[in-house]
Symmetry: C2
Subunit: 135 residues, 2 copies
Amino acid sequence: MTSVMSDMLTITELARETGITARAIRFYESKGLLTPRRAGTTRIYTHRERGRLQLILRGKRLGFSLTDIGEYLDLYDADPTQHDQILLLLDKVNSRIEELKSQKVDLDDTLKELTSVREQALAAMQEASAQAIRA
Amino acid sequence: MTSVMSDMLTITELARETGITARAIRFYESKGLLTPRRAGTTRIYTHRERGRLQLILRGKRLGFSLTDIGEYLDLYDADPTQHDQILLLLDKVNSRIEELKSQKVDLDDTLKELTSVREQALAAMQEASAQAIRA
DNA sequence: GGCTAAGTTGACGTAAACGTCAACTACCTT
DNA sequence: AAGGTAGTTGACGTTTACGTCAACTTAGCC
């Protein structure tokens, strides 16, 4: 099965494009993270769903649960004309920004440490080869 | 049960200190991530194990699996006098650095987007209140 | 209009990371 | 030495995020 219009993908096409399985995509839908249109019974993925899927995958790479990612996606299509929706949105955005900032601290610390481990390993090798030459 | 020497903690003390459960700590041990000494049957946690536990928790915050974290911990106590161990070590460190760097890109992108979402929400609120004044 | 490949919906299985008893054992205190 | 508090080892339960059939429709092609 292959779709006619460009920008309209079938589930296997989308799966191949993103490197995940069709099963996973259906699972995300069952969790409410995706809501593709249908052509009869067949799911049709357009630009919007592809974007959302990219956000889902990035969220996963960052270690968030699908539930977290669901809330995160809601931030994007919240109605900006509703005053209290905006306030709620701001709250969520702010707290997530704080989460990510502290995650960034962890990440930077770990990167520094690993870099230092590498330096030490390299130094140990230099020392070993220097001894071999002296021998 | 409470330990005499400072720097020597029992499992519940360590649990309280780190905010995780004793069950989790035992679980990490069963996975080989911790190897506390024993006083009889009771586990004794010293400076070394506490450091390792911090690394475990940070790894978790970064979204790594316990298996990943196990390999990561091995990097710290690899024998630096073994030449090929060092090479292996360097390989692992380098690939993990690459992982973390790409994770950092994801993180920065997400932070930028969320900040922009926040700006837009704030702008929408300004607009709404401005209209209220004009009315 | 019939075949085959692709898509769909359940139902069940699974791995990771613990939580939750249960049944003991070991300490420390009085 | 008796009792309560902590600690220990299984064993089983649970949630998340899918994988894996199985049994059916559906769609496009000749």
